[in-house]
């Protein structure tokens, strides 16, 4: 701006020179005006009248010029003032605008921070979802999701384990009605129960038979739970199913083994029972036959009618004897199968068979093995029968209700030639009067006992060249033990 002003002053100069040569009459009257500092001051004494007039005119012109300049300066100053005011105003505005910008920047920063935070959260949540999805996919339990808003309960998700279990691919499962997967042979009762559960919006848990895509059967455990939307309405059901076929198979095998052993035991008991019965009955039959034969001999040729009657008695006695003999041969205990046996393994197997029983009876079965127990020669089933009988007696002995129901089975080498197996319990023990009759046939302290168990067990152990005995513990309960000869190494 200063520049423009200078330029204007420069332009004024020629105009000023012109005015000095042609003096304005009007401005001559304006005397008293201060002489301009520019130019030489006139010497009043030597100036002519004309010169004085000219000078006066000149001074007047100068004064006019001065006035003009002053006006211009004033105007320009005003302009400058205005401009400066405007500038100042602009600066204020600028300041206010700057504040606003700062505020907006701050807001932006905050927003950006929030956005970044949100993004991190989003990232974390994505990772979370990914891990969860991966976890569901890698689960060894079959998992699926069905949409229960549609009538067919369509599968909307399934994991790999479920696909393996059912034999369908992911694509085959998607959008397929859940119940159509279960095969035509599925238990309709179970299907109806599951549908009812879904309708009621409750949980379902059950074990059932399933059919794979190719038709193979498998047993599985199914758990169903409702899934709610944000509004609280049940939209889906999540299902988890576990293949329990192997578990069931194992249970079944154990059960079968146990049944077999129990059967053998029952048959053994029955055989022993019949054998005892036969012995008991054969005594009176022997007497009857001898009496009859004696009477027949005494009557000799006399009393033919009475002799005939005696012959009938004789015949029926023989018939009764035959019936018993046949029964006995039918239930004759099979020949023992003697093989080298590891008693530790046999105890372990037997304990496995008794585990369920132990759990039901709230009893702890403990084993303590002599790891260096030598082999023995024996019949596996028969010796298992002995163990089973002793353990089951201990179970019964603890029915009287001790707090810590415990059975400790112990194997140990007894001496150079024998091993011993001990079954110790914390039960009610053996009443002293029962001690002498403990191993007698038909002696029992149980309301439903036959009185054969210990008698058979002892005869089995004795058949193996060992000994079976029982005694009361110093504290509580009883201990039964049997010894067996160690398998002799063949002579060199």
């Amino acid at each position: 701006m200063g520049n423009n002003y200078k330029v204007k002053t420069a332009k004024q100069k020629p105009k000023l020179e012109l005015k000095l040569r042609k003096p304005n009459i009007k401005k001559r009257r304006l005397s008293g005006g201060k002489p301009l500092k520019t130019g030489k001051p006139p010497d009043k004494r030597i100036l002519s009248k004309a010169e004085q007039l000219l000078l006066r005119g000149f001074v007047s012109d100068l004064s006019n010029v001065r006035d003009d300049l002053g006006e211009k300066v004033r105007r320009q100053t005003d302009e400058l003032k205005l401009k400066s005011g405007q500038l100042r105003h602009g600066a204020d505005r600028q300041q206010r605008s700057d504040k606003r910008i700062q505020k907006q920047t701050d807001e932006l920063k905050l927003k950006s921070g929030q956005l970044r935070h949100g993004a991190v959260r989003q990232l974390k949540s994505d990772e979370h979802i990914q891990i969860l999805t991966q976890a569901i996919k890698s689960m060894t339990n079959g998992m699926f999701l069905i949409d229960v808003r549609k009538p067919n309960f369509l599968v909307v998700f399934s994991n790999a384990a479920f696909q393996t279990m059912t034999g369908y691919t992911e694509r085959e499962l998607l959008g397929r009605g859940y119940f159509s997967l279960r095969g035509a042979k599925a238990d309709s009762g179970v299907v109806a129960e599951i549908k009812r559960t879904i309708r009621q919006g409750t949980h379902f848990r059950g074990e059932m038979l399933g059919f794979k895509r190719a038709g193979q059967q498998y047993w599985f455990q199914l758990r169903l739970a409702p899934v709610c939307s944000a509004s609280g309405a049940i939209t889906h059901y999540v299902g988890i199913q576990t293949d329990v076929t192997l578990m069931w198979q194992r249970d079944f095998e154990i059960k079968e083994q146990r049944e077999e052993l129990l059967h053998v035991t029952r048959v053994g008991k029955l055989a022993e029972f019949v054998s005892s019965l036969a012995h008991e009955i054969s005594q009176p039959l022997t007497a009857i036959l001898s009496y009859t034969n004696a009477a027949q001999r005494l009557l000799a040729d006399r009393e033919p009618q009475i002799r005939e009657i005696l012959q009938y008695i004789n015949n029926d006695d023989i018939r009764a004897t035959e019936v018993i003999r046949r029964l006995r041969s039918l239930l004759k205990r099979g020949e023992p199968e003697i093989k080298p046996l590891d008693m530790n393994a046999l105890v372990k197997d037997t304990v496995v068979l008794m585990t369920t029983d132990a759990t039901i009876r709230n009893t702890v079965l403990k084993i303590k093995f002599d790891a260096r127990l030598p082999l023995i020669n024996g019949d596996r089933i028969q010796l298992q029968q002995v163990l089973l009988n002793l353990i089951s007696n201990s179970f019964d002995a603890m029915e009287c209700g001790p707090e810590d129901r415990q059975i400790l089975i112990n194997t140990a080498r007894r001496d150079r030639d024998t091993i011993a197996v001990t079954v110790k319990d914390t039960g009610c023990g053996i009443p002293t009067p029962n001690m002498p009759k403990l191993f007698s046939r038909f002696f029992t302290s149980k309301s439903d006992g036959l009185g054969m168990g210990l008698s058979i067990s002892r005869s089995i152990v004795e058949g193996h060249g060992g000994r079976l005995d029982g005694t009361n513990n110093p504290g509580r309960g009883a201990t039964f033990f049997f010894t067996l000869p160690i398998k002799q190494k063949p002579a060199p």
Partner: protein, 121 residues
Amino acid sequence: MVSNKNHFYIVDDDESVCRALGTLLGTYGFSTKSFSCAEEFFSAVPNSAPGCLILDIHLPGINGWEAQQRLSDSGSKRPVILISSDEDGGRMKQVFQAGAVGYLQKPFKDQELADLIRLVV
């Protein structure tokens, strides 16, 4: 050993069996004396006393086999007939090894007993 032919000792824990056998043997003209266990027999009858022995295998206390063993160990020459309700499969060899003259499975007919007695006396 002449008197062995006339007298029989019966050892059986069943009283009825003892009495019935005694009656039957009586019809053959033998005299009999019964015992319910082996210990009773040993304490009452010395080896020197003549007579045959009908011995049950299943006895309380000393069983038939053990009693037979004890007799032979003591040098007795008394003829012994073992009786039992057990089947005789494989028994006979054991019976003879033990030194007895025969075995009868209960119940037995008078004829079977007579055949065995004929063998003994």
